[in-house]
């Protein structure tokens, strides 16, 4: 009965579809019109929605370049035939692939084609009067009559007026006609529907603004060191097409301290419990610095950019003396965590060592555990038993080329691995404070201690407020479009039957125009009751039907 949700008025489905084979030729305008009608039909929208859902799925199952390029490379290495095919069809970048873009852009075109005519219909409906009273109210889903006794002449005379007043009080739009009252309410349902769909367009706009002008980059900063917001300081930086490097705000942060705690109890041992970086922030050169605590979920906002704490790790502090006894390198070196227990891999490059340049490659283990003959591993993410395990490489010095190279991996061209006395590759194991002299007069290595580093992510998503605001409106519109009940009610003085004694009978009919919470019959009965009570004379007769 209330399941009468209909296609929105003005929707393209309402148009006749010229698909018959015996129709005259459409011509190019007709063809365009036909294509437009097809594209904006509800059926197409449904298909496109399905397509969107299906197209989004592979991106969650196949590794994505934008999320983890390393896993993409692993995937391609593991699937030599499938990998390149996946790459060709864009499966490693689903959400920026042409086919995914095509689906959502078509969907939004279809959305516009749906909204525009409906907006027109709605603006007309907003000014329109409720529809005229139908001839037979008895046929409506809810129907009731109220009888006002003959002696109550005043009640009879004012019944339509009172009905109109009562309906207005219930926020109906009321049209008073000769001998009847027509009322309608629930215009907000369609308004909510339109607001929802228009909000989706603004959401897309917000996302587009973020994609064009936004940027996000990250930088590894060792505790005690700082970061200045300029392009050269970033380890990686992704930015929108219309982003300008000069728009980076010149703020500066110094990481004073980084506290981290891990679960030591029996449950979820090793799970992170606290990350907290203490920063000194200078908003612009010359400004006073202020101390800020940076935590997960509590980003720092500086001059339109946000700074997030998104990672951390260990940096062993190493001093390398060369064969001539000079300190060729001294300081912390960033090692990258490889697992949940922070087994960290890294390279110490000492190009300035003489007579031979030196490189150390290996692992830093915060809680080193050695089991039998196996390679030592870290058993806990905190630094309970820190140790450095490295192999040593040496080679003739090479002139500085100025070419950027990966600081985390070692190019062994021109280097030979240093062997121990037993002829096997030399393996050095150091605990903080320990040092070792390298063979062949290469020099010495000392592990002075260790430090931590944090990974700071700096970025700006300019459209975020627009996108989130749009979603807020979308939810609001959605609620209106789902919960507002458009309803029409008519009240009419019944034709008096022949010979009937002067009592006045009014008929009341009600119609729900969309799926609603019910209660239509009750409301119509209530109105009948309202029109007959508070008057002199016997209780009026009521009749209700729910066909």
């Amino acid at each position: 009965m209330t399941d009468t949700q209909t296609r929105p008025a003005g929707h393209a489905d309402a148009r006749p579809e010229p698909t018959g084979p015996d129709l005259p030729r459409l011509g190019w305008r007709g063809t365009l019109r036909f294509v437009w009608a097809q594209l904006t039909s509800m059926r197409t929208a449904l298909v496109l929605l399905f397509a969107l859902a299906v197209a989004a799925i592979p991106g969650s199952l196949v590794p994505q370049r934008r999320i983890s390029p390393v896993r993409v490379d692993d995937f391609i290495a593991a699937h030599p035939t499938l990998g390149p095919i996946y790459d060709k069809v864009g499966l490693f970048g689903v959400y920026s692939s042409p086919w995914f873009s095509a689906v959502y852009l078509l969907l939004f075109v279809s959305l516009v084609g749906c909204i525009v005519p409906r907006l027109r219909v709605y603006t007309r409906a907003l000014r329109a009067q409720p529809p005229r009273t139908p001839r037979n109210l008895r046929r409506l889903p809810a129907y009731a009559t109220a009888e006002i006794p003959a002696e109550d002449t005043e009640g009879a005379a004012t019944v339509l007026e009172r009905a109109a007043r009562e309906l207005k009080r219930q926020h109906y739009r009321v049209r008073v006609e000769e001998g009847s009252v027509a009322a309608e309410r629930g215009y907000l349902r369609e308004a909510g529907n339109l607001v929802f769909h228009i909000s989706l367009l603004f959401l897309l706009l917000g996302v587009a603004v973020g994609a064009l002008w936004g940027y996000r980059g990250s930088s590894v900063v060792i505790v005690g060191q700082g970061f200045s917001n300029s392009v050269t300081q970033y380890d990686d930086l992704t930015a929108g097409a219309w982003f300008k490097a000069t728009s980076l705000k010149p703020f500066n942060v110094v990481v004073k301290d980084f506290q981290v705690k891990f679960e030591t109890g029996p449950v979820q041992t090793g799970a992170a419990r606290l990350f907290r970086a203490d920063l000194d922030v200078t908003e612009a050169p010359g400004d006073p610095t202020k101390p800020v605590a940076l935590e997960v979920n509590h980003p720092l906002r500086v001059d339109g950019s946000t700074v997030h704490l998104i990672g951390h790790g260990y940096a062993p502090i190493v001093t390398v003396k060369d064969g001539q006894g000079n300190v060729a390198y001294s300081g912390p070196v960033v090692f990258l965590p490889q697992d949940g227990n922070f087994t960290s891999a890294g390279v110490v490059k000492v190009p300035d060592a003489r007579p031979q340049r030196i490189a150390l490659q290996g692992f830093f283990l915060p809680s080193a555990v050695q089991q039998g003959d196996q390679a030592p591993t870290s058993a806990f993410p905190d630094a309970l038993n820190p140790a450095l395990f490295v192999n040593v490489w040496s080679g003739a010095p090479v002139p500085e080329t100025g070419k950027p190279e990966n600081v985390y991996s070692l190019d062994t061209t021109g280097l030979t691995q240093v062997k121990g006395d037993d002829g096997a590759p030399l393996r050095i194991a150091l605990q903080p404070g320990q040092g070792v002299t390298l063979p062949n007069g290469l020099g010495s290595v000392q592990l002075d201690g260790w430090s931590r580093w944090v990974k700071l992510q700096v970025g700006d998503s300019p459209g975020a407020a627009l996108a989130l605001g749009s979603i807020a409106f979308a939810v609001l519109g959605l609620c209106l479009s789902l919960f507002v009940r458009p309803r029409r009610v008519w009240v009419r003085l019944a034709n008096r039957a022949e010979g009937e004694q002067g009592s006045t009978v009014v008929e009341i009919g009600g119609l729900d125009r969309a799926d609603a919470r019910g209660g239509l019959t009750d409301d119509v009965d209530d109105l009948a009751h309202h029109l007959t009570t508070g008057l002199a004379g016997p209780q009026a007769q009521k009749e209700a039907s729910t066909t």
């Binding site: 929105p8 399905f50 991106g59 934008r66 979820q268 997030h308 998104i310 996108a467 807020a472």
Partner: protein, 325 residues
């Protein structure tokens, strides 16, 4: 007080009690299957007894009519009794699972929805709460069988497979959005689950109606039109809430990870679920898609919700890896 222990005991007991409730509803179904409803007999007998001629035959007929009517009433009573037993046991199981969830929160000293185990038990509390509310307010007792099956399996999986001991949260979850995002997800998920169960019932009922033979349990379920309406209302409630859940997640992601949308597998599947339910709402108002087709879409939506919860948590690594299993 060892809250953790009592919480576990209460939740394990709730599985047993829900299972008994399921048996009671299964018995109800079986009893309804054997006997046609009383009204049907009345109708049949009236049709056959009506135009009959001689007096002795009529007495016979009336006697047999009275007997079969009494039998049918008795069967009805039996069905009714099993139903009440099932609902009573469900209330008991509900109380136990509430104790379990609250105890878990007390034991952990935080909101009890930080991992898969806790989320499942919480969401199923909402499922049963919604079901019992509808039993009380709208006479949805016929939903007992599928709901008790769902919560038995769900809570059963939770206490066996998903169980993890009480532990504090990782720093990423220390946020007010932890309360907002996850409660909304649990409530929306509960409504989707009830809606999905009703969609299945709708399809069964509709098929029986189309074949013209509605018997047994299905005869006691309301008409397909009415099921469709209630199903729609559950989804109409859940969909804006799910939209809000995704939006709240986006705001939280902006705080936690510095981007409001990053195509993390969990985010992707939340969107897929949202789009499928959007399909459902559109299908319901598109000619040729109403009824069973829309119901199938709702079931696909529920499947996608489940995959997002179980599949993504256990099979795919992403930023939302909080299962702890």
């Amino acid at each position: 007080m060892n809250y953790s222990y009592y919480s576990s005991v209460a939740l394990v007991s709730s599985v047993v009690v829900y299972l008994l409730a399921f048996f009671a509803h299964a018995a109800e179904w079986a009893a309804a299957r054997r006997e046609p409803a009383a009204e049907e007999i009345v109708q049949r007998e009236l049709v056959t007894a009506g135009p009959a001629g001689g007096a002795p035959v009529e007495v016979d007929r009336i006697e047999s009519y009275a007997r079969s009517l009494a039998d049918a009433r008795l069967a009805d009573l039996r069905v009714e009794q099993f139903n009440r037993m099932g609902v009573f046991l469900t209330v008991l199981g509900f109380l136990l699972s509430v104790i379990g969830v609250v105890g878990r929160g007390l034991a952990a000293g935080r909101a009890p929805w930080g991992n898969m185990y806790e989320f499942t038990t919480l969401a199923l509390v909402f499922v049963v709460a919604a079901y019992l509310l509808m039993v009380w307010k709208a006479g949805l007792g016929w939903l007992g069988l599928p709901v008790t099956l769902l919560v038995t399996v769900g809570n059963g999986l939770a206490v066996t497979v998903f169980y993890v001991a009480v532990a504090p949260l990782v720093p990423a979850l220390h946020s007010v959005w932890f309360l907002i995002h996850i409660t909304a997800a649990a409530i929306a998920g509960a409504a989707f689950n009830v809606g999905g169960l009703m969609s299945i019932l709708y399809i069964l009922k509709k098929r029986a109606e189309d074949r013209g033979q509605v018997t047994g349990y299905l005869a006691r379920v309301p008409s397909s039109r009415r099921i469709d309406l209630i199903t729609y209302r559950f989804h109409a409630f859940a969909f804006p809430l799910w939209t809000f859940t995704v939006a709240a997640g986006a705001i939280w992601a902006e705080y936690a990870w510095g981007r409001y949308w990053g195509w993390d597998p969990k985010e992707t599947w939340a969107l897929v679920t949202w789009v499928v339910y959007a399909c459902y709402l559109h299908a319901r108002s598109t000619a040729g898609w109403r009824g069973s087709k829309a119901a199938v879409i709702a079931i696909v939506g529920l499947a996608s919700f489940w995959f997002n919860f179980i599949g993504i948590n256990l099979l795919v690594s992403g930023l939302h890896s909080y299962a702890g299993v």
